[in-house]
């Protein structure tokens, strides 16, 4: 797909995602700086393209700075935005610490800062708000889906964890466990890390299948992200089983490839980590600039559940152009 079609598809999706209310007209013509971490994952590329589209819809002049995973680049970018006298700053912080000085500079320049998808360890009065997903909730939504799906049947679950010690892995595990607590028919038989990657997800699932009697005893696989689930689906197929039927597949993120699997009947559910963090951020900014309404310090995005009933092929086509 060439870049122009990509942009076109991205634009159409952004239009669908954005609920441009009339109340946000006051953002028209504003200059907003956006310091993005980089493009280390498909999700982040999608977040960048959605943010750019949102800004264009609202008539915002978005100054984009890619930090290439370095905090010093982000601090430089923010200082640059302050020097240019932008009207607001969006920041997706690469790490949690070390932001106090530069956020104080922004506050002294009276430029509101909104944090996207991650929080920082800094006094709350230094920034306007944080827009992020609730990772524990994501795990819980996945778990609740499985509880409803299996009913009273015995169900042995294998879990593909994210990178050991990483926040999303800890939170998504916790949420899932909360959801299945009290349902004794559902047990987590095995849990290993697949490092959030497709290759490791496949390798770990191969091991699980061997360890659980050729996979016959596994009822479902819960993966902390879609990439690992895609790898696991391949491992299930290689073992001569049917993913989606013999072994249910539930995961988190809602990237295009999981919708392709869902359309083929090989995945059962995914919980969306929306790339649209900028939408709520612009809404909060609009209200704040209009009459000084202080937004919530932590704006939680929706963790929507997608199943094969939600037009997976359509979702795939819509998302493919976002740079995932």
């Amino acid at each position: 797909m060439n870049i122009i079609t990509k942009l076109a598809v991205a634009a159409s999706l952004a239009t669908a995602l954005t609920s441009v209310s009339l109340a946000q007209e006051n953002l028209n013509g504003l200059v907003v700086g956006f310091s993005q971490i980089g493009s280390e994952s498909g999700w982040r590329a999608a977040e960048t393209s959605v943010t750019k589209q949102q800004a264009e819809e609202l008539g915002i002049d978005l100054k984009f700075a890619d930090a290439q995973q370095k905090q010093e680049n982000q601090i430089k970018a923010i200082r640059g935005f302050i020097a240019q006298g932008v009207d607001a700053i969006l920041l997706a912080p690469v790490v949690a610490t070390g932001w106090e000085n530069v956020l104080t500079e922004a506050k002294e320049a009276e430029i509101p800062v909104i944090l996207l998808d991650r929080g920082v360890d800094a006094p709350e009065d230094l920034y306007l708000s944080t827009v992020a997903s609730d990772q524990v909730l994501e795990g819980r939504v996945a778990g609740e889906w499985l509880v409803a799906e299996v009913g009273e049947e015995e169900c042995k679950v294998v879990e593909l964890q994210g990178t050991v010690g990483s926040t999303p892995a800890i939170n998504r595990k916790q949420g899932f466990e909360e959801a299945i607590a009290g349902h004794d028919n559902i047990t987590i038989a095995r849990s290993q890390t697949g490092d959030f990657t497709r290759a490791k997800g496949k390798e770990v699932m191969e091991g699980f299948i061997k360890a659980e009697n050729g996979g016959a005893e596994i009822c479902a696989v819960y993966a902390h992200n879609d990439d690992m689930a895609v790898g696991a689906i391949q491992a299930i197929k290689d073992a001569g089983l049917k993913p989606g039927t013999d072994i249910k597949v539930v995961s988190i993120d809602a990237v295009p490839d999981i919708f392709a699997a869902m359309a083929a009947g090989e995945a059962n559910a995914t919980v969306e980590l929306t790339p649209d963090m900028a939408g709520p951020a612009f809404q909060a900014l609009s209200a704040y600039l209009a009459d000084g309404t202080e937004p919530e310090k932590f704006i939680i995005t929706e963790s929507k559940l997608y199943t094969p009933a939600d037009d997976p092929q359509g979702e795939y086509d819509r998302r493919k152009g976002l740079g995932y």
Partner: protein, 333 residues
């Protein structure tokens, strides 16, 4: 002849592999169970040779480099680049052979670049290959535009997931490559020349060995092997993951070579033993997966095992070992 045979069986690498497999069997009684399914062998042992193949392929190339007292840190990044090249080309509609040959050519070019820096510009190998280690992943991300390029080309997928005589294709490729390269270095004088450069490059050059060309050759071979590994890994997951393909595998490859008994100071080397080293590493990984350890312990278990294996191979342990078990060898010394 019989004595030589015994000595071979008693070498520390094969003993370590047997030991790791034995521990796996104790932790998971079905470890050695192999069944026939859908026209291929199926079992944990098959997983070991299948999953171990990419590192084994890297180790084949890495052995030559390390034997010349060098090191190639860029192989993981070259894997990502070559996987990205193959995947984007088949997605763009090029025939599979063209995409594969292009990816192999890119790997060869990367290797020649490393060789040029080391042999012609005399940059230290660790620095010279660090350049491509850092830049390579960026190049791969540029090629894939930051996303995982997923493909459905059956011929390319076959390279990663197909089977030949019931064995996984990746393992067959590693085996063929091992035999070819071993044959190349042992049936010609090339192996001896490589060893000579590793022991003393100046002396080797003075005695008439074209060290510059040979260095170019070993780095080119390493790049070529990395390209094969990159294609295998991408084909296995049906997608080129520029961020994660081959990540840290250069270190696994170096470890495999070292476990295989090749010194980082250059000189004596063994390609088949490096492949055994790769299998030892993968046997540990697979063992951890089927054993049911908590993931928090993965690295601790692995580190402990590796320390043990390297201790067994240390000169002191070696003397004790050969002195007791194979007196013939000690006597000959």
């Amino acid at each position: 002849m019989k004595r030589l045979h015994l000595e071979r069986l008693a070498n520390p690498q094969l003993l370590a592999l047997a030991g790791v497999l034995l521990i796996n069997w104790l932790l998971f009684p079905n470890f050695f169970r192999i069944t026939w399914q859908d026209g291929r062998l199926f079992g944990s042992l098959i997983d070991v040779i299948n999953r171990g193949a990419p590192v084994a392929i890297l180790a084949i190339g890495m052995t030559g480099v390390i034997a010349t007292k060098g090191v190639d840190l860029s192989v993981g990044a070259i894997m990502a680049v070559c996987g990205a090249v193959a995947a984007t080309m088949v997605v763009a509609g090029y025939p599979t052979p063209v995409a594969v040959i292009a990816a192999l050519a890119v790997g060869l070019a990367c290797g020649l670049w490393n060789g040029f820096l080391v042999a012609v510009l005399d940059i230290q190998p660790i620095i010279a290959t660090l350049v491509l280690m850092v830049a390579g992943r960026g190049i791969a991300q540029l090629i894939t535009e930051g996303s995982i390029v997923t493909f459905n080309d059956p011929a390319l997928i076959f390279i990663g997931t197909g089977s030949f005589l019931g064995l996984p294709m990746a393992a067959v490729i590693a085996l063929v490559l091992m035999v070819l390269v071993t044959f190349l270095v042992r049936r010609t004088a090339i192996g001896l020349f490589i060893q000579a450069i590793g022991v003393n490059r100046a002396a080797a050059s003075l005695s008439g060995i074209r060290s510059r060309m040979l260095l170019m050759l070993v780095y080119a071979l390493s790049g070529f092997c990395a390209a094969i590994a990159g294609i295998v890994v991408a084909a296995d997951i049906r997608g080129a993951d520029a961020n994660n393909s081959g990540l840290w595998l250069e270190l696994d490859a170096i470890l495999a070579v070292v476990i295989g008994g090749t010194s980082l100071l250059g000189g004596r080397f063994s390609i088949p033993m490096a492949v055994v080293g790769a299998l030892i590493i993968q046997a540990m990984n697979t063992g951890i997966l089927v054993s049911g350890f908590r993931p928090e312990f993965n690295l601790i278990v692995k580190a402990g095992m590796i320390i043990l294996i390297l201790l067994i191979q240390s000169p002191l342990a070696g003397r004790l070992f050969t002195g007791r078990l194979v007196p013939a060898k000690a006597a000959r010394k």
